[in-house]
Every structure is written in structure tokens, then in C-alpha cells.
């Protein structure tokens, strides 16, 4: 997390250098870096956390179809826009919807966001710096015979890419942090995605948990027998765990198939779906958000 904070400070410095006064710039850098370093905590549970958050979110009560399609439209608008404003507005709106309104913990949100954002910041650095013979940029670092420089146009370009990516990311996070996987799958089914794909998605989703649980218990058992005592043993143990996982999942798959057959499975997976009502307010909110953002996208350049 500290690394993300430092990266963020660096990128902000390069992005705004020459555009605003140095005092403001330093303040901006320190505020962002300090905020990220203090507020966020790192967590390791990964996708399991996302699923739990989605179950708990207040936005989970909202009909998944309206969320899915709104987010999809906003995503396209954001990626297609030619202005920094659109991405930033979306990021802020989604933040408000997720954290204060959806009841998501700020720490959790930031630590989840930090993973893709670090990638984003590294690529921002790559986009910012160019290499050339003459020092023609706002920032010029002499390297060998030439210069690594940041030009004004690269600052603008990187700003746009960053804001678009941040906006798009926020949209996707809104969907995945407020909608359990099973509901997303049911929306896709309504959108006439082929049944095979839908059924695979259900099974993959469900068995990720089964396999993960299996993996965790095997890993713990190996740990308790010193299977991870040093690097070379760890590598060997991991290999053994993976091959065992394959064998055991094959066995489990047969058991599961028996269990499915005993409930009259004949080649088609269908569940009862619980329709969540769309309220008038939600309609208005979704439509107005789409209208405002598309207005901004098509007017701003």
C-alpha cells in the first residue's frame, strides 16, 4: 500500500508539474500520498472478499438488470469520452454510491482499488516519459546522451487515460461490489447469452469456493507438517498440492454429478429467480445519470 502511495505521489507530481505552482503541487502530492498510506490496509483474501461485500451492500437490494445495463452504458461513455471530467465525475459518483450510500468500508474500498490502481500508475509513468535528444519537456532528466522528458502533451494524454481508466474501473467496481455473482449471471441469461456459457458460469462460480476451501485445508495440513519451511520445499509442496487438487476435484466432480442426477438433472441447470422490483426513483436516478454523462461526453472535448 505504501508503494501505491509513493507511486501516486510521483505520478501526480509529473502530471501537474509546470501547470500549477509548486507549493500547491507539493501539498497535493503529500495529501494524496498521506491519505493512501494512512487510510488503506492491505488484505489478502482477494475475490472472496468481493463476494462477501456484494452480499452485504445496500445496493444489493437494487434490481441487478438496471445496475448491469446502466453500468455498461456508463462504461462505454467513459471510455469513449474525450474529456478528463467524465472519468473523474464517474469515479466520484460511483464512490458516493458505493461507500456512503452502499455502506462499504472506506478502508476496504481503497485496498480493493489499490490493486488495479498500482498497475494504472505504473503505466501512467510509462506514458508520461518520452526519450529524446533535446530537453524539450516540462521535466527533463539527463540520461546517457539524451533526455527522459515529460512534455505538456504527454501530461494531457496521460491525464485523459488515467481519468478514463479510473472512471471505467469505478463503474465495474460498483457492479461487482454490489451484485452477487449469481445475479450477474441471471442478467446475462436474460440477455440471451447461450445456456452452455451460463451453466458453466454457475458451476465455475460455485466450485471456485469448493476448490478454494479444499486448497486451503490442504495447504494448512502441509504447513502443519513443515511443508513450507523453506523455498525449495515450498515449491515442491505447492506442486504436490496442485496435483492432489486435480485428483480430488475429479473425485468431487463425480460425487457432485451423482448429487445433481439424484435431483433429476437432465442436462439443463435452472433456478428459481427472485425478481427485485425496480422503483421509480431508481429508474429516474439511472436514466438521469446516463443522460448527464452522455451529455458531458458528447459536449466536452
Amino acid at each position: 500500500m505504501i508503494i501505491t502511495a509513493i507511486l501516486a505521489m510521483l505520478v501526480i507530481w509529473c502530471l501537474f508539474y509546470g501547470g500549477i505552482t509548486n507549493t500547491i503541487l507539493i501539498c497535493l502530492c503529500l495529501i494524496t500520498g498521506g491519505f493512501l498510506a494512512i487510510v488503506s490496509r492491505h488484505k489478502h483474501e482477494g475475490f472472496l472478499v468481493i463476494d462477501i461485500i456484494a452480499q452485504k451492500s445496500h445496493l444489493n437490494k437494487v434490481n441487478p438488470s438496471i445496475k448491469f445495463w446502466t453500468v455498461l452504458i456508463l462504461l462505454f461513455l467513459c471510455v469513449g469520452s474525450k474529456s478528463v471530467i467524465v472519468g473523474l465525475i464517474l469515479a466520484v459518483v460511483m464512490f458516493i454510491l458505493m461507500v456512503p450510500y452502499g455502506g462499504l468500508d472506506l478502508h476496504d474500498y481503497l485496498s480493493l482499488l489499490s490493486v488495479p490502481v498500482s498497475f494504472l500508475l505504473i503505466s501512467a509513468l510509462a506514458l508520461l516519459f518520452n526519450y529524446g535528444e533535446v530537453a524539450s519537456g516540462v521535466i527533463n532528466l539527463p540520461v546517457f546522451q539524451g533526455y527522459l522528458f515529460v512534455s505538456q502533451s504527454s501530461q494531457l494524454r496521460t491525464g485523459l487515460v488515467l481519468s478514463k481508466a479510473l472512471g471505467a474501473l469505478s463503474c465495474l467496481y460498483l457492479l461487482s461490489l454490489s451484485t452477487p455473482m449469481s445475479e450477474i449471471i441471471s442478467v446475462l441469461r436474460k440477455a440471451h447469452i447461450p445456456d452452455v456459457v451460463i451453466e458453466l458460469m454457475y458451476l465455475i462460480y460455485r466450485y471456485t469456493f469448493v476448490l478454494f476451501e479444499m486448497y486451503r485445508s490442504m495447504k494448512d495440513a502441509a504447513k502443519s507438517r513443515l511443508g513450507f519451511v523453506n523455498f525449495s520445499i515450498s515449491v515442491k509442496t505447492t506442486g504436490k498440492i496442485y496435483s492432489n487438487l486435480l485428483a480430488r476435484s475429479y473425485q468431487k466432480a463425480m460425487n457432485n454429478f451423482d448429487a445433481m442426477e439424484s435431483r433429476c438433472y437432465t442436462g439443463e441447470i435452472r433456478f428459481l429467480e427472485h425478481e427485485k422490483k425496480i422503483s421509480l426513483m431508481q429508474y429516474i436516478a439511472a436514466v438521469s445519470l446516463v443522460v448527464i454523462i452522455s451529455g458531458l461526453t458528447f459536449t466536452l472535448h
Binding site: K252, S262, R263, C264, F271
Partner: protein, 266 residues
């Protein structure tokens, strides 16, 4: 008692020379409480899968409600609808993302109209007291709750006979008690229950009838008192006498105590 399922000389083997079921003949009735005993690999699980049409007997006849069952799809479906299996590990049964969707899997497969499915799902959820977890993901539930979900799964198909494969395995005492309560409730509703178990004390206090499997053969089919009095049989099948049965024998109590409260009145 009405007859539900009848086996006549059923044989089944997974591999050529390893027979998992040998010449099994048995009749199962509604609202009867049957315990199935036998050591590991005695054929209990195969017997269950066979009752459900998942493994097909190589010889012998099977009757459901006095109709002979073949291997047609229609027969399979009526077998699976009338006879439900609750598997030992709830995780091998659960496939959906919410409890409600999970319970609906069976009735949806029966191609019932949606209103009927909803009604049966609601009924099963109510019986297993899962209302508060309807929209939760089954994989975040506790072991006892998952077990209840897996029972509701099968109940939602309105079976007449329920088979449980070691239902109390990996349940804590509190959940085991709850399970027994639920079992009694199901018997009151007229369902036939068949439970494979290693717990002889449970079999003694709960069952009306005991089946003992050994090496794929049905070696005993009698009342609990008869089965547990046959010491030769118990020794052969690696079984022991239930504690209260032994206590009753030592103190010459008649009738033999089934539960602790039977001793208290004395």
C-alpha cells in the same frame, strides 16, 4: 403401512469381480424409520444410489409403488422424485448462488410450473426454518445450516422416501439434536426415512427397523432389539451394542430403555 420401494434380488458391481451389492431384497415403507448399519464399504452408499436410479442394478427387479422400474428416462425421473437422497457432504449437493435458488434446483428440473415450484420451495424452506437465509449464499453458511439446506433441497421435490447418508457426520451436538427433531417432524408428515449411520446409539433410540449390510449383502433386516441381541452378527459386521441396550440388559430392565428418560422414572 404403504409400500414405496421394493428390491428383488438386486445385484450390482462397479468392477467385474468386486460386487458392491449381492442379491439384495428389501421393501421400504412410508412413515417408517429405518437405520442402515454396516462398516465402511459394506454397500450402504451403493444401496442408496441404487434406490435413486443413479447406479443401475445388473440383475434383479425394482418396484416403485408396485410398478416395475426400467431404465427409461420417465422411470428414472419418477424414481428420483419419489426417493430423495441427502448426501453426506452438503457441499457435494449445493450448486446455486443463493439458498432459494439452490432449493429450487430439484423442482425446476421436474419442469413444474413456476407457481408450483415457488410453493414447494417456500414449503421446504419453512420446514427447515431457512427463511432468514433465503437470499444468502450457501457457501457462507455454517455446517449445520448447510445440512438443513441440503435437506430442504430434497424436500422441495416432495419425495415419499428420504435417504440420508450419515446425516450427523460433522455436526455439533446442538445441530445433531436439531436434526433429530427435524427427522421426527418428517416422520410425522408421513415420509419414510432411511438413514445410513455408524452411530448405534442413534439407531437404537430412533429406528423402528434396522438393515445391516456386510460385504454388499443385506445380512439382517429386523427390529432393533433383535439385531442388537445377535452378538454373532454384530461381531461379524464390526458393530457394537448401544450403551443403553447394554445398561438395560445388565439391570434386566423390561422393556429396554431407548432414551435416558426411560431410566429416570424407575
Amino acid at each position: 403401512m404403504e409400500e414405496i420401494l421394493r428390491f428383488e434380488k438386486i445385484d450390482f458391481s462397479y468392477e467385474k469381480d468386486r460386487r458392491a451389492l449381492k442379491n439384495v431384497s428389501v421393501t421400504l415403507y412410508g412413515s417408517q424409520k429405518v437405520a442402515v448399519l454396516g462398516n465402511n464399504g459394506a454397500g450402504k452408499s451403493t444401496f442408496f444410489l441404487c434406490c435413486n436410479g443413479i447406479v443401475k442394478p445388473q440383475s434383479g427387479r425394482m418396484y416403485l409403488n408396485n410398478n416395475e422400474m426400467g431404465s427409461s428416462k420417465k422411470d428414472n425421473i419418477s424414481l428420483r422424485q419419489n426417493v430423495g437422497i441427502v448426501f453426506q457432504d452438503p457441499d457435494s449437493q449445493i450448486i446455486a448462488g443463493t439458498v432459494e435458488a439452490e432449493v429450487s434446483f430439484g423442482p425446476m428440473n421436474l419442469r413444474l410450473p413456476e407457481a408450483t415450484v415457488r410453493c414447494q420451495v417456500d414449503d421446504a424452506i419453512e420446514k427447515m426454518r431457512l427463511e432468514d437465509m433465503r437470499t444468502r449464499a450457501p457457501h457462507y453458511l455454517s455446517g449445520g445450516e448447510k445440512k438443513r439446506v441440503s435437506i430442504a433441497d430434497v424436500l422441495a421435490m416432495n419425495p415419499r422416501l428420504l435417504l440420508f447418508d450419515e446425516p450427523a457426520a460433522s455436526l455439533d451436538p446442538e445441530n445433531t439434536l436439531l436434526l433429530e427433531k427435524n427427522l421426527n417432524m418428517l416422520t410425522e408428515k408421513g415420509l419414510g426415512l432411511v438413514i445410513a449411520t455408524h452411530d448405534v446409539d442413534f439407531a437404537w433410540r430412533w429406528a423402528d427397523r434396522i438393515l445391516v449390510f456386510h460385504g454388499g449383502e443385506l445380512v439382517a433386516d429386523a427390529e432393533p432389539e433383535t439385531v442388537f441381541s445377535d452378538e454373532e452378527l454384530l461381531k461379524k459386521c464390526g458393530l457394537v451394542q448401544p450403551t443403553l441396550f447394554q445398561v438395560g440388559k445388565i439391570f434386566h430392565i423390561d422393556p429396554l430403555p431407548k432414551v435416558i428418560s426411560d431410566l429416570k422414572g424407575r
